[in-house]
């Protein structure tokens, strides 16, 4: 057993583990501390200071996400000083961007919006001055509106520390500091590989999944957990459904291994084949002239059964073969080989594992 560290938060005496931060302990014990730049999988930076708390004996307020607990620490999360400091920070953030929730895709799942609502801020005390950046719409997957960026740096850490793609950083330090690829280029002109980790990390509407734009508000969307259909990693993802259609893909870190909420471009952005107009919708049977014509299921199934039976009779079971698929489910593959073996009577069944 590791030695427990006694700490007091808001008058409650708690036991912490070595290495835990004030935020960790608070979370574990159901004490709410707001955060913004905090990203559980990346380096703790304590940059936004939304999570400040008062620690007895400390001269200044401390960022709870980055401060490890020490024995006997006495923490208060709800003093007037704390609340005012947080409020000030949030108002400053609000005033320094163009946070027009009406047309923002993140409306309803924005951490800044939530903070403002919780703190009951009707209007920032500062004049709103949007930086006036052009919105980046040069690709169809990720849209960036840095006027909504709160400079939390989560996208940067997600890109560098979670996916290790090393594309994003703070550019142009100073008052016009912004986040993005080197040389302030668009994603499509950079080394970005469109994994979308930064989309998932962004707490506001500054980096969004373009595919889901105008395709349903967050509260109208149903999420269905499934497994990616592409490579063998088997990433877990949520298909976002609106009006009976898959409108985009999101992830959930809590699903754990194998991908812990990460995806690649294929899993995140290459699912629009699902309602592509080329999808086959009816069975096709070749007619006398050699053309494929639409047919009913009954006709198609009967024809297959008849043909297979007659070929089996005439040339034997081993004149028939079947190719199963690495794309189909286990259930389907099981049934396919059972069909070839039990119904046709041959072991001529393979798939393209080899290719």
């Amino acid at each position: 057993m590791e030695k427990k560290i006694p700490v007091t938060i808001d008058g409650r005496e708690l036991q912490a583990l070595p290495g835990q931060t004030i935020l960790d302990v608070a979370k574990e014990n159901g004490i709410y501390i707001p955060t913004l730049c905090y990203h559980p999988l990346t380096t703790l930076v304590g940059a936004c200071r939304v999570c400040v708390v008062e620690v007895e004996g400390a001269r200044n307020l401390v960022a709870s996400c980055a401060m490890p607990v020490s024995p006997g620490m006495i923490v208060r999360t709800d003093t007037e000083k704390v609340l005012e400091a947080r409020r000030m920070i949030v108002e400053l953030i609000w005033a320094s961007g163009d946070h027009n929730c009406l047309m923002c895709e993140s409306n309803g799942m924005c951490e800044l919006q939530d903070l403002i609502y919780q703190m009951k801020i009707e209007k920032p005390r500062f004049e709103i001055q949007s930086p006036g950046y052009p919105v980046e719409t040069t690709n169809t997957m990720i849209m960036r509106d840095l006027n909504k960026c709160v400079l939390c740096g989560r996208c940067i850490r997600a890109c560098n520390e979670v996916q290790v793609n090393e594309v994003l950083d703070f550019q142009e330090r100073g008052s016009r500091m912004k986040v993005g690829p080197a040389f302030d280029s668009d994603y499509s002109d950079s080394s970005c590989v469109f994994c979308g980790e930064c989309v998932e990390a962004c707490p506001t509407g500054a980096i969004i999944n373009t595919q889901g734009r105008f395709a349903g508000r967050p509260w109208e969307i149903e999420k269905v957990r499934t497994t990616c259909t592409y490579c063998g990693v088997g990433c877990q993802l949520d298909l976002n459904i609106h009006d009976g259609k898959v409108v985009k893909v999101t992830t959930n870190r809590d699903y754990g291994t194998p991908n812990g909420g990460s995806l690649c471009i294929k899993g995140r952005f290459a699912n629009d084949f699902i309602d592509h107009p080329d999808r086959l919708k009816t069975p096709l049977v070749r007619d006398k002239n050699g053309d494929l014509q639409e047919a009913t299921w009954d006709d198609a199934i009967s024809l297959i059964a008849k043909k297979l039976a007659s070929i089996k009779k005439k040339h034997g079971s081993d004149s028939i073969a079947g190719l199963a698929s690495a794309r189909c489910t286990n259930e389907e593959n099981y049934l396919f080989q059972k069909f070839m073996r039990a119904v046709i009577g041959t072991n001529n069944v393979d798939h393209c594992a080899r290719l």
């Binding site: 997957m141 979670v162 590989v193 469109f194 595919q211 499934t226 497994t227 990616c228 592409y230 490579c231 063998g232 990693v233 088997g234 009976g244 898959v246 291994t257 194998p258 991908n259 690649c264 952005f269 290459a270 629009d272 084949f273 080329d278 999808r279 086959l280 069975p283 049977v285 070749r286 299921w297 297959i304 043909k307 081993d318 028939i320 073969a321 079947g322 190719l323 698929s325 690495a326 794309r327 489910t329 286990n330 259930e331 389907e332 593959n333 099981y334 049934l335 396919f336 080989q337 073996r341 039990a342 009577g345 041959t346 072991n347 001529n348 069944v349 393979d350 798939h351 594992a353 080899r354």
Partner: protein, 526 residues
């Protein structure tokens, strides 16, 4: 994979050979990069191409395509001559060591350098790095298997890992990364000509009797044909009917002219797919099916983890799931298959499949389980061969290096190697219909080393004709040092540039995998 994806992150040394991980298994690529950047793991890349992982590698061995066995033997030669082998492990858990030792003896780093072009010192350094670390993990993909000597390559890696005692330990092992989402599952489910589910041999009487009882029918003891043999059989007229469930042979198989000829010769071809594929165009019956988002079921990932897929939307038009179609045809052929839902098939399957027996839909509702999982209270298996190998003792195979089937010569002076790119998947039926991936990679490019480009007077973006003994295709050139001098790289995602018109259909004699990674070509401005 013998081990798990999450274990890779905690390895001390990762040896990546024949895997362009960041493009083909990007999320595993991220795991490897995190291991390097954040946990100080050392990465050894062995690959002819300057893949993105080389940027993270402590060592990059750039072998000539198809010389893997020589390189691996070279690594073992160093390990043995410097005494880094795991002596106790070898003595207690393996057999065949003496024969291995004998063969490996002549593969000195200097000799291997003459075959592979890898400097002897790099072979020494890599051998030391791999052998002396505590947790060393090997991962590989098609760059190892798609050779005439693919089986030799895989066995050589097993030799290396066993020699150093790295199999059966956490964060070690030999880890093939599977290309397609459910290759592992399709194999486990018995979609192979010689085995039922869980690799139970059709030629084994006990296994057959078991399945005969379960399926209430007499079964054939004769192993069937592999995919390439089926094509050959069709061309010869021995195979008369073929049912293809979701495969696109007309792009993925080697030597497409031959495949076309074979498909045309069939009396009856059924293709079921989500789109009308190149293969579907030759079919007598094409059936529309539901895609992964439109059905329930399970996939088994590359680390043997069984995970759910769930129906999220309805299939378009009259499309049905693949299993409904199979069941309907079986019914018509007087073999009733009554399943109310995918789970009913699963329940039947796990009764006859020991390694899956303990996995139920209920158990994998929130997290997948890795087989073997023999009983419903078994937690699943993170890594294999912990205390013993499946066969008891681990068997070393003494393997000599054999050069690729077709080497560059006067007429075809360059080597062609094929593979995938990040933005597309297999034959492109899905990713080429997706906007984003197509936007990133709209066309097929031939990657040519700057020196070769100069030699053949080819400039960036120019159309080139690539010719082999089997055919020719035209595509745009891109000049890049990613390709080594003397080797060009092409992907096989684009039907307009059917790379498999070029590839050499020669097969690995055991695994029957074609040699997609090496053949001789000529290039010229088109």
């Amino acid at each position: 994979m013998t081990n798990s994806i999450e274990e890779l992150e905690h390895a001390d040394v990762i040896l990546a050979i024949g895997t362009n991980t960041t493009e083909n298994h990007p999320v595993i690529g991220a795991v490897v990069k995190r291991a390097v950047r954040q946990r100080n793991a050392k990465l050894i890349v062995i690959d002819p191409r300057e893949i993105a992982l080389t940027k993270y590698a402590a060592l990059w061995l750039r072998q000539k395509p198809g010389t893997d066995v020589a390189v691996i033997n070279g690594l073992m030669n160093v390990i043995l001559s410097e005494g880094f082998e795991a002596k106790e492990y070898v003595a207690a858990r393996t057999e065949g060591f003496e024969a291995l030792k004998k063969v490996v003896e002549k593969y000195t780093p200097e000799y291997v350098e003459t075959i592979s072009g890898v400097p002897a010192d790099q072979i020494r350094a890599a051998a030391r790095m791999y052998a002396t670390a505590h947790k060393s993990s090997i991962m590989y993909a098609m760059g190892i298997t798609q050779h005439k000597t693919g089986t030799d390559n895989v066995k050589s890696l097993a030799n290396l890992a066993m020699l150093c005692g790295k199999v059966g330990i956490e964060s070690g092992g030999i880890n093939p990364l599977r290309g397609q989402n459910n290759v592992q599952g399709a194999c486990d489910m018995g979609c192979l000509p010689n085995v039922f589910t869980a690799y139970q041999q059709v030629a084994n009487e006990d296994a057959r009797t078991k399945f005969e009882k379960a399926w209430e029918v007499k079964l054939s003891p004769k192993p069937g044909l592999t995919i390439v043999e089926i094509t050959n059989g069709a061309a010869k007229g021995d195979i008369r009917a073929l049912w293809v469930m979701g495969e696109n042979m007309m792009l993925s198989d080697p030597d497409l002219h031959h495949v076309e000829e074979a498909l045309k010769k069939l009396d009856f071809l059924v293709v079921q797919d989500i789109f009308l594929t190149e293969t579907g165009r030759y079919a007598d019956v094409v059936l529309p099916v539901a895609c992964f988002a439109e059905k329930d079921g399970t996939f088994t990932n590359t680390e043997r983890r069984v995970q759910r897929i769930r129906k999220a939307v309805n299939a378009p038009g009259d499309a049905k799931t693949d299993w409904e179609i199979i069941a309907a045809v079986a019914d018509k052929m007087k073999y009733p298959m009554n399943y109310a839902m995918a789970e009913a098939i699963w329940e039947e399957m796990r009764q006859v499949t020991p390694s899956y027996a303990g996995i139920t839909y209920g158990r994998i509702e929130t997290a997948g389980i890795q087989w073997p999982c023999p009983t419903t209270d078994h937690p699943g298996t993170r890594y294999l061969h912990k205390d013993r190998f499946t066969r008891g003792l681990g068997l070393f195979h003494a393997i000599e290096y054999i050069p690729p089937d077709e080497l560059p010569d006067k007429e075809y002076p360059l080597c062609l190697t094929t593979g995938r790119v990040l933005y597309h998947y297999h034959t492109g039926t899905m990713t080429r219909r997706a906007k984003g991936t197509t936007e990133r990679c709209p066309e097929s490019l031939v990657e040519i080393n700057p020196a070769d480009a100069e030699k053949y007077a080819i400039h960036e973006g120019q159309m080139v004709r690539v010719t082999t003994r089997r055919g020719a295709v035209e595509a745009k050139a891109t000049i890049t040092p990613r390709s080594p001098e003397g080797t060009i790289f092409m992907n096989f995602h684009f039907h307009e540039v059917a790379t498999n018109l070029l590839t050499n259909p020669v097969l690995d004699p055991v695994a029957k995998i074609p040699e997609y990674k090496v053949c001789a070509v000529r290039i010229e401005a088109a």
